[in-house]
């Protein structure tokens, strides 16, 4: 998501630049976290996506829409283009899955095989949530590879969204998690580990752990390791390490500001994160977390090279594509392209 903390979104005068960054990472990879629909439910379309992936050395991508739509309030003169563009609220938008599914179906088979689409268009605080999941799943059975990104604790977005605060242990999600488990579908969760003003301990972590505890066979992926804007806690890598040790099916993705603020601050990879990644590389994947804006894929993913350079070959292969392929490739929308073709 657009963020002032991401180095690729701000120029750094004095640092030398190069158009080579548009070609993306030097390592072929799967972008494991990419929104192909924005907060006003628009998409540049499948052709633009594939073209950008080709340019940015992205072999495959885990794609999804956005489960919330930003309102254009009657009193706002300008339409919003992002959920933080103004004070208007967001509401749950089932149609986002239709946009994604139709976009995928419009592509030729070889392009579709490069995408792992997830469905996310339901209200995670509504006990009817499963109804909408089931309908989207049944309407496009050839498309979906999993469920997500379910937006749960999300600081400002939670505050701006109508309804209850969504959280990982909300009982409305229990049937959805059961549905995913029965079909062996991965579930990508955005759950902040804490609130904006509680930076001394992770006040929302227990909510996540309750879901992990009660659904030990569900394949959860914790988006950007539970971080968000202005969200941070001490002992972050120890916390992630404990989660990975405690919950053997849990996977995390490195995307968005977890990389710039925690893993590789100032462009220097932290030793403890390199060690953690080496140890758990089979449960770590990489993503851009772009919200459309596909033209930014190259620099967004190239910025990971400084970290990837320092991993062993095995760990790098896991992080770059093997983990994502294993996690998302089992679903119905999974591709068939051999890894060697990436």
């Amino acid at each position: 998501m657009p963020n002032e903390s991401i180095t690729t979104w701000t120029r750094q005068p004095g640092k030398s630049g190069s158009l080579a960054r548009l070609r993306g990472s030097k390592y072929p990879l799967i972008d494991a976290h990419l929104h192909v629909v924005n907060f006003i439910q628009q998409t540049p379309g499948g052709e633009a996506l594939i073209r950008a992936m080709d340019r940015a050395n992205v072999g495959r991508a885990v794609i999804f829409g956005l489960p919330v739509a930003k309102m254009w309030d009657e009193h706002d003169r300008e339409p919003p283009d992002y959920y933080l563009a103004n004070d208007s609220r967001c509401y749950y938008y089932v149609g986002t899955d239709v946009l994604v599914a139709e976009m995928v179906r419009s592509l030729p088979e070889e392009s579709r095989a490069r995408l792992y689409p997830l469905l996310c268009g339901f209200n995670p605080t509504d006990c009817f949530a499963l109804r909408d999941v089931q309908r989207a799943y049944d309407a496009y059975p050839d498309v979906w590879a999993g469920i997500g990104e379910i937006l749960l604790r999300h600081d400002d977005l939670t505050a701006l969204s109508y309804g209850d605060a969504p959280r990982a242990n909300h009982r409305a999600l229990w049937p959805v998690f059961e549905f995913a488990t029965e079909r062996d579908l991965p579930v990508l969760l955005h759950q902040n580990v804490t609130s904006v003003s509680k930076s001394d301990h992770p006040v929302y972590l227990y909510e996540l752990e309750e879901a992990l505890r009660d659904f030990p066979r569900t394949r959860f992926i914790l988006a950007h390791c539970g971080i968000s804007r202005r969200v941070n806690v001490p002992f972050y890598h120890q916390m992630v390490r404990r989660l990975l040790a405690q919950y053997p099916d849990l996977v995390v993705d490195y995307s968005w500001i977890i990389f710039d603020e925690i893993i590789c601050p100032g462009g220097v990879p932290r030793d403890e994160w390199l060690a953690l990644t080496e140890e758990y590389s089979a449960r770590v994947c990489l993503g851009s977390d772009l919200v459309t804006r596909f033209e930014r894929l190259g620099p967004e993913l190239q910025r990971y090279d400084v970290f990837l350079d320092q991993l062993s070959e095995t760990a790098r292969a896991n992080v770059c594509w093997k983990t994502a392929e294993r996690v998302y490739g089992k679903g119905k929308g999974g591709g068939t392209m051999p890894i060697s073709d990436l």
Partner: protein
């Protein structure tokens, strides 16, 4: 445009640029050191790359003022087409922070470009709201008196535009229209109230003085009209208007 875009080569690396967003990312990864070089290279292709709104806005936002001036100049012949609409021009002006860039943009659009974009008083007000200093006058001068005289149908519309202007330029607009025409736009007490309050006291008084007693009696028909005007006019204006109105009604 070639399907993959126009080539941009810097430091031995080439990127294909097809959209405004792609151009901005290319400028970003070059850390802002090569903005002018890129603009010069893409030169005549920039209008095709920027395309419809908000392409120009997106790129202008990424540039320093000197490079913004260079982009405006490079687009000069197709600037109105690239700006696209009065709404887009308003948004663009709102995002510009330097008067010299705003002035250059208006100059490059010229009278024909501005007239192509601006069709209604609301659109003119939107544009003038975001220009400051001499740019108000520059825009009105470029639009021309003939266009402005045709633009307004009511006092409310004229008031809308006047409120968006620097006070120092308001008299110039009314001079361009002519005081007779400006006064003639007032249809009733609502128009009169809006217009009087959009103007400073000296111009408001001058407007009121422009009406004959009979005209005033026609505009202010009853006590309800007076009630409305009391919300808008200050004490001196009301006293003046009242004396004129009484003179007119006694004569009848």
């Amino acid at each position: 445009m070639p399907p993959e875009g126009f080539p941009l080569t810097v430091g031995g690396e080439t990127a294909l640029i097809r959209t405004a967003a792609e151009l901005v990312v290319a400028l970003d990864v070059l850390q802002g050191d090569c903005d002018r070089e890129a603009l010069d290279q893409l030169g005549p292709r920039l209008a095709d790359i920027l395309g419809p709104p908000p392409g120009l806005h997106v790129v202008m936002t990424a540039l320093r003022p000197d490079d913004q001036l260079a982009l405006v100049e490079a687009l000069r012949d197709r600037l109105a087409e690239v700006v696209g609409s009065a709404r887009a021009l308003r948004d663009l002006l709102a995002s510009l922070a330097e008067e010299r860039v705003e002035s250059a943009l208006l100059a490059a659009l010229g009278g024909s470009g501005l007239r192509e974009l601006i069709r209604t008083p609301e659109e003119l007000a939107g544009v003038l709201e975001w220009v400051y200093g001499s740019c108000d006058g520059q825009a009105l001068e470029a639009l021309g008196a003939e266009f402005l005289r045709r633009l307004f149908q009511t006092g409310e519309e004229l008031a809308l535009v006047l409120r968006a202007m620097d006070r120092g330029c308001q008299a110039a607009l009314i001079e361009q229209l002519g005081w007779d025409l400006a006064a003639g736009l007032v249809r009733d007490e609502k128009d009169l109230g809006y217009l009087a309050r959009a103007l400073p006291a000296d111009l408001s008084r001058r407007l009121l003085e422009h009406y004959s007693d009979d005209q005033l009696a026609g505009l202010i028909r009853d006590e309800r009209a007076w009630e409305h005007l009391r919300r808008y006019l200050d004490r001196e204006e009301l006293a003046y208007l009242n004396s004129r109105w009484e003179a007119a009604t006694h004569a009848q």
